[in-house]
Symmetry: C2
Subunit: 125 residues, 2 copies
C-alpha cells in the first residue's frame, strides 16, 4: 500500500490527478497560446528540426547542419526555422558566416507542464 495508491489503475479517469490538460478545462486564452506552440510542432519537418537543434552538440546547430538532412531547398528550411522562431521555440544568432539556432527551454517546458502528470518541479522546491 502507501505509495502504490498514487498509481491506482492507470489509464482510467480519476479526479484530482493527471496533467493540467486533464485536470481542468483549459481557458480560451491558454488554449490559444499553447495551440500556437503545438501548431509549430505540427509539421514533421519542423518537429525534426527542433529535435535536431536541441540534440546537437553544444545545444545549438548551424543552418548548414540542418539543410542536408532533408530533401528540401534552403528557402524552405529557412521558412520552417522562421515559424519555429516566431512561435518562440527557438532563437537564432549570426556568428560570422553562419547562423546558429538553439531551443528556448521555457517554451518546451510550458508544453510539458501541461501534458505531464504532476511533474515534480525540482528536488527541494
Amino acid at each position: 500500500m502507501s505509495n502504490q495508491d498514487l498509481a491506482l489503475t492507470e489509464g482510467t479517469w480519476q479526479p484530482a490527478c493527471c496533467s493540467p490538460l486533464v485536470r481542468e478545462p483549459l481557458s480560451a486564452e491558454l488554449s490559444a497560446e499553447l495551440s500556437r506552440l503545438f501548431k509549430a510542432m505540427g509539421d514533421p519537418v519542423r518537429l525534426r528540426l527542433l529535435s535536431l537543434i536541441a540534440s546537437h552538440a553544444g545545444g545549438e546547430a548551424c543552418v548548414c547542419d540542418l539543410t542536408g538532412v532533408f530533401d528540401l531547398t534552403g528557402p524552405t528550411i529557412s521558412h520552417h526555422l522562421k515559424v519555429l522562431r516566431e512561435a518562440g521555440l527557438i532563437s537564432g544568432e549570426r556568428r560570422g558566416t553562419w547562423v546558429y539556432y538553439r531551443v528556448e527551454p521555457d517554451a518546451l517546458r510550458r508544453l510539458s507542464d501541461v501534458l505531464v502528470p504532476d511533474q515534480a518541479p525540482a528536488v527541494g522546491a
Copy 2:
C-alpha cells in the same frame, strides 16, 4: 549532494539528460507520427475540446456539452472532433441519443513521453 546532482543548472544544455526530443534527433518516421498529434492539437478550438473532454466528469463528454462553449456551429465542432478522432486522441461512442467522447490516454502519453525530462514511469519500477 546526491539528488541535487540530477537538477544541475537547469535550463542550459547538457548531454545525456532531458527529454527524448532533446537527447537525440527524432527519426523521420517518429517525427511524422508525432507531428500528426501535435498538428491535431495545434488549433485553439481542438486543444480546448480535448481538455474539456478529458476534464469532464467521468472522463467523457457528450457533444451537447461541448457545442455551447464555443461560438461555432455544430458542423464545425463535429469537424474538429473528427480531426481529434482521426489523430487517435479521442474516441467516440453513441449511447442512445447522444454521442460521448473520451480521450485516448495512450496518445497523450506518447506526447508527454517525448517532451518530459526523464519521467519516472512508476514508483517501484
